[in-house]
Subunit: 305 residues, 2 copies
Amino acid sequence: MTSKPTIVRTVAELRKRIASFRRSRPIEEAAVGFVPTMGYLHEGHASLLRRSVQDNGLTVLSIFVNPIQFGPNEDLDKYPRDEEKDVALAASCGVDLVFLPTVQEMYPQRRVTTVMVSEVTDGLCGASRPGHFDGVATVVAKLLNIVQPDRAYFGLKDAQQVAVVTRMAQDLNIPTEIVSCPTVREEDGLALSSRNVYLNAEEREQALSLSRSLSRVAEWIGEGVDAPELSELLKREIRRSPLAKVEYAEALTYPDLLPPEPGTPLRSIDGSVLVALAVRFGTTRLIDNRLLNPKEVGVHACFAK
Amino acid sequence: MTSKPTIVRTVAELRKRIASFRRSRPIEEAAVGFVPTMGYLHEGHASLLRRSVQDNGLTVLSIFVNPIQFGPNEDLDKYPRDEEKDVALAASCGVDLVFLPTVQEMYPQRRVTTVMVSEVTDGLCGASRPGHFDGVATVVAKLLNIVQPDRAYFGLKDAQQVAVVTRMAQDLNIPTEIVSCPTVREEDGLALSSRNVYLNAEEREQALSLSRSLSRVAEWIGEGVDAPELSELLKREIRRSPLAKVEYAEALTYPDLLPPEPGTPLRSIDGSVLVALAVRFGTTRLIDNRLLNPKEVGVHACFAK
């Protein structure tokens, strides 16, 4: 149905191919879409790729396990990889170019430049993974400068990452539209993640506590809880699964990621609220979230009662 | 001889005009050159503008006194400005577009993103002006993303700035060639600077101690001094001017800006050495430098004796 994507391993060749695409088309058909990933692709990535193929004349997928966004005790070395399967999935989605650089190609000399994003990185994964978002912001800035896409696609499963990349692109005048796409889930509710392969059968079962607790958020917000109360309710629900170790369970305004005033019922907040979880099962760390508008949720919850 | 440049005050309009230029030309004539400045232009800026006009089909000059590169006790408020004279000079050099954004246009929302460059910012102005190069790297990254030039031109009078911008562009894969151009001087040797207008007659006279001391560097290196000895000789020479307060007088490898091993004669160093000065006269801070290849200097100094 679609032809195989071209695999490109150097920055110079990628730039040459993108430039030649842009020159070959009238401007209204020359849009470039970009999906940066760490590979081991799943249906969540596929949804981003399909969206990009639909929106743009050329779609570039990058697969790069970026060492500088992993902490010293994290899973860089064992991060799962399967280049062949990834390229097959890319082909089935209609991707044109797959950029597969080496670490040496991305960091050819001692790196002295870091793109730092403050405030939106203070909480959630920013607090529990120091330096993580510096590594994300730096590599995304690099990739956006390499590809210079019209649009770049990110999954809302990593909602804080979307907030970080969006703010970075705005603050640095990067001329790329950051498009965020909904989380894709297994039929039973588990958010898709390359890290799900680490889970054994029992952990996989108990990992449903994340999506199950999140499915009750609208109800709890409708009942008038504030942010600390919601956090407690989420933790209590998750801890019913004995293997779950909660790292955080928080409600923050979105996209600024500021903590709402304690004592203020969440249902009275204007705009969006992100309810985000990070939970460990053994050495595997899973995240999940719900992004909602409490005012609409409140009404909905009242009607539902 | 040349037509007046177009004055542009918004990012959106600047991008539109540059895109329309690029579309109007075959690729080999569509190069864009960029000279970022803080205005109050002098012959040093003019040399960058003329070089850009010579090398490119379109030249963009930006004039923006960037608040985030000034420290709390620095001269942001009194930094000299003369838009009319600047535009006239730009016209005489053949500049096509002058980008004159407001602070609000460049920083429309609370900025949370900073581009930080380490190591090459440890010494010299980086040490005495904390945060200065974060502000420079951040605004230059923004301007390069706005203009997306093929080449950007910087004066070697700010040699550390050239080193910072060059490393940042490499590390972040910014697809712009950073071109450095020689320092332009008054007939008596004073390096041109917008800050020279702050000097009174006596200070102006004594400010010659910078270029005078630098003019002896080749001779001293030929005699076999190491970096600390050269520093002492420079300071002694400058202090013959009683109004001069030396902030630093240092020799570093270039472009890495690392201190050479004490005890090693500078004339034995391979590659380039930057000899850099910062000297205060009253509240005015002046910088100057010489960039040289000691091996060549050594030979030259021996012949000259």
